[in-house]
């Protein structure tokens, strides 16, 4: 094996270059290890290799100097240069392998460890928008989504976190973006139909307060909410129709029965015609049959007579005055009848009680009804000009039942016996819709 001095000049040149590259790589590796502050066990080894490498470099450089420049080198250098080149080759191989191992580990570490770049990269892949800003608004970290949102909302790049938040919460947004809600949880509707919700919260990082602004796409939730609102509106409409149907059950029943009656009358006319035709065409008809036909025609004619008279829908007071007139009592009314099915129903019940009392007990000739209202309730006072009651009045079936109905509606009733009988009732205007009397 040749010594270092006996190597061909090209081989020495190649070795020199290799040592230089190795020196550089070892230096870089040492710096990397020092910076990573990890696996410090490699640093002494690298330092040793660096020193050996450096020594070999000097030796080879000295050998080249003595050969090319014909310079006499020191004896210890000469002794060192006399060592076989095998050692140098071995050193080079071991160094390279060691460096390859270090750099592979470094590559593995970089691929699997979280660095600042990897954090940024992963943030940029999020669908949500994320931004961290300092107390003074300086942006510390923001992902692409948040930057895009800022641009769509303000038309500018995201540069000040505080200013951006102020625009989201309290500021006006010009352009096609519409603010659905403001305050602490602003929600914005974008022209493409997407809806974004923004939330901000402070957090501590490195002894400093950092504001985290998070934007989430709630388009699907918003659409579902709108659909739910529409369905609720439809259900409310149906409920209202149901209530109205229930309130008008009597009227609707009457109309149904009228229609059925018209159909029946039509059929009966047909039958009467047929029966009459039979009677006229037959040679011999019994008296009973003729009588039946005549009765049928009488009914039909009576029905026709009813039909030609206009059927007016009677209101409460007409019912009452008709009933009062049948017993010779005059009804004197002051005020207007309250609106609302429940109010009219309870008033009808009270009026009936008052009329009964006026006719049966007081033997009155006049029934006075004073109707009034306050902001919250309808009132009615019933009195008559008949015989005052003798002593206290015991509330029997009629008055007792009237009182229960009134109290169920939140109303009240008062029966006075002096100086004359009077019945006073009060019905709340805003009666619970479903408190049927």
């Amino acid at each position: 094996m040749n010594s270092l001095m006996e190597l061909h000049q090209y081989v020495r040149a190649a070795l020199l270059a290799g040592l230089l590259v190795l020196q550089l790589l070892e230096f870089c590796a040492m710096i990397l290890e020092i910076v990573r502050q990890n696996k410090r066990k490699y640093i002494p080894v690298l330092a040793l290799f660096f020193l050996i490498n450096g020594t070999m470099l000097i030796l080879l450089a000295a050998a080249n100097k003595s050969i090319f420049l014909q310079v006499t080198i020191k004896p210890y250098l000469r002794r060192l240069l006399a060592m076989p080149s095998f050692g140098l080759y071995l050193f080079l191989i071991i160094s390279f392998l060691y460096l390859i191992r270090i750099f592979r580990q470094e590559r593995h570490y970089r691929r699997n460890s979280v660095s600042g770049h990897s954090v940024k990269e992963s943030m940029d892949t999020l669908n949500a928008g994320l931004c961290f800003s300092a107390g003074n608004g300086r942006i510390l970290l923001a992902n692409h989504q948040m930057e895009a949102l800022c641009h769509r909302i303000t038309g500018c790049d995201l540069q000040d976190g505080e200013e951006f938040w102020r625009v989201l919460t309290a500021g006006t947004i010009s352009g096609p973006v519409k603010k659905l809600t403001g305050g602490d949880h602003p929600t914005l509707l974008f022209p493409d139909g997407s809806v974004w919700s923004f939330v901000r919260r402070p957090m501590e990082a490195g002894g400093e307060t950092v504001q985290q602004l998070y934007a989430s796409d709630i388009t699907e939730l918003y659409d579902m909410t709108l659909r739910l609102q529409e369905e609720n509106r439809q259900v409310a409409d149906m409920n209202e129709r149901l209530r109205q149907y229930d309130k008008n059950i009597a009227e609707m029943t009457r109309m149904k029965e009228q229609l059925a009656a018209k159909v029946r009358i039509h059929d009966e006319f047909g039958q009467a015609l047929l029966a009459a035709h039979y009677c006229l065409a037959a040679e011999a008809v019994s008296g009973a049959d003729v009588q039946r036909v005549l009765e049928a025609w009488k009914r039909n004619i009576a029905v026709l007579q009813q039909k030609t008279r206009p059927q007016e829908k009677k209101h409460l007071m007409k019912h009452l005055t008709d009933a009062a007139e049948s017993v010779g009592i005059q009804v004197v009314l002051e005020g207007s009848v309250p609106e609302g099915e429940n109010s009219e129903a309870i008033l009808a019940a009270a009026a009936a009680e008052a009329l009964t009392n006026a006719a049966i007990h007081a033997k009155a000739g006049i029934l006075n009804i004073q109707l009034g209202q306050t902001e919250d309730e309808w009132t009615a006072v019933f009195s008559n000009n008949g015989i005052p009651p003798q002593g206290e009045i015991t509330e029997g079936g009629g008055l007792g039942s009237l009182r229960k109905r009134l109290e169920k509606l939140g109303g009240r009733m008062e029966v006075c016996t002096e100086p004359a009988f009077s019945l006073r009732i009060a019905v709340p205007k805003k009666v619970e819709v479903n408190s049927f009397v």
């Binding site: 259900v235 149906m238 409920n239 209202e240 129709r241 149901l242 209530r243 149907y245 229930d246 309130k247 059950i249 009597a250 029943t253 009457r254 149904k256 029965e257 009228q258 059925a260 009656a261 029946r264 009358i265 009765e295 009488k298 009914r299 009576a302 029905v303 009813q306 059927q311 009677k314 409460l316 019912h319 009452l320 009933a323 049948s326 017993v327 099915e341 429940n342 009219e344 129903a345 009808a348 019940a349 009026a351 009936a352 009329l355 009964t356 006719a359 049966i360 079936g397 009629g398 039942s401 819709v433 479903n434 049927f436 009397v437």
Partner: protein, 196 residues
């Protein structure tokens, strides 16, 4: 049959004399007091939301000798029970021919008590009316109010869970997807009527 038609048939029969014909049951007691009445044909759903059944109960208490025939076109299942409880003599559905009402009146005056054997069967969705239990029908009646389960439960002194269970059972029986559909179908069919 409409009230006027009733009047014509009855007066035309020659067997009865009409004392009065009133639209609202709230005045029934008044006319009983001020007239000599033997028989009342009382509808259930009358003008001004006055219940004929309630009026009949009061009249039977105060005038036990007056006979009452409840007449109705509504197949509400509870009317027959309430009529019996009120002491009403007879009960008749208006669907029959006019001769039937006169027969019912004659038999009632002769001391008979005539009630239908069954309540008319109605179809509610996929279910028949007789498939509902009495409790279910009570809750179905309350559903017509459009109130929440909590309000209905408080009104009926039941737990919310019980109310919801009954509603779910009825929806399963009828095949309706929502309680509102159930309530609308029940109301329109006349199976249950609220407020009478």
């Amino acid at each position: 049959m409409a009230r006027k038609l009733f009047e014509i048939f009855i007066e035309g029969s020659g067997r009865y004399s009409l004392v009065c014909s009133v639209e609202s049951a709230s005045l029934a007691e008044f006319y009983c007091r001020t007239n000599s009445v033997d028989l009342i044909l009382m509808d259930v759903c009358t003008a001004m939301n006055a219940s004929g059944l309630d009026a009949a109960a009061v009249i039977k208490q105060k005038f036990p000798k007056i006979r009452i025939v409840i007449v109705t076109g509504q197949p509400e299942h509870d009317f027959i029970r309430r009529a019996r409880n009120a002491g009403v003599e007879s009960f008749w559905y208006k669907e029959g021919d006019p001769e039937t009402i006169l027969t019912v009146m004659d038999r009632t005056m002769s001391g008979e008590s005539i009630y239908p054997d069954t309540v008319p069967t109605l179809k509610i969705g996929y279910a028949l009316s007789e498939e509902f239990t009495p409790r279910e029908l009570e809750i179905l009646r309350e559903l017509l109010s459009g109130d929440t389960d909590e309000v209905i439960a408080a009104r009926m002194n039941l737990s919310v869970w019980t109310v919801r269970r009954h509603i779910q059972t009825m929806m399963s029986k009828t095949g309706f997807m929502t309680r509102t559909q159930l309530a609308v179908a029940a109301s329109e069919s006349g199976l249950v009527i609220r407020g009478i």
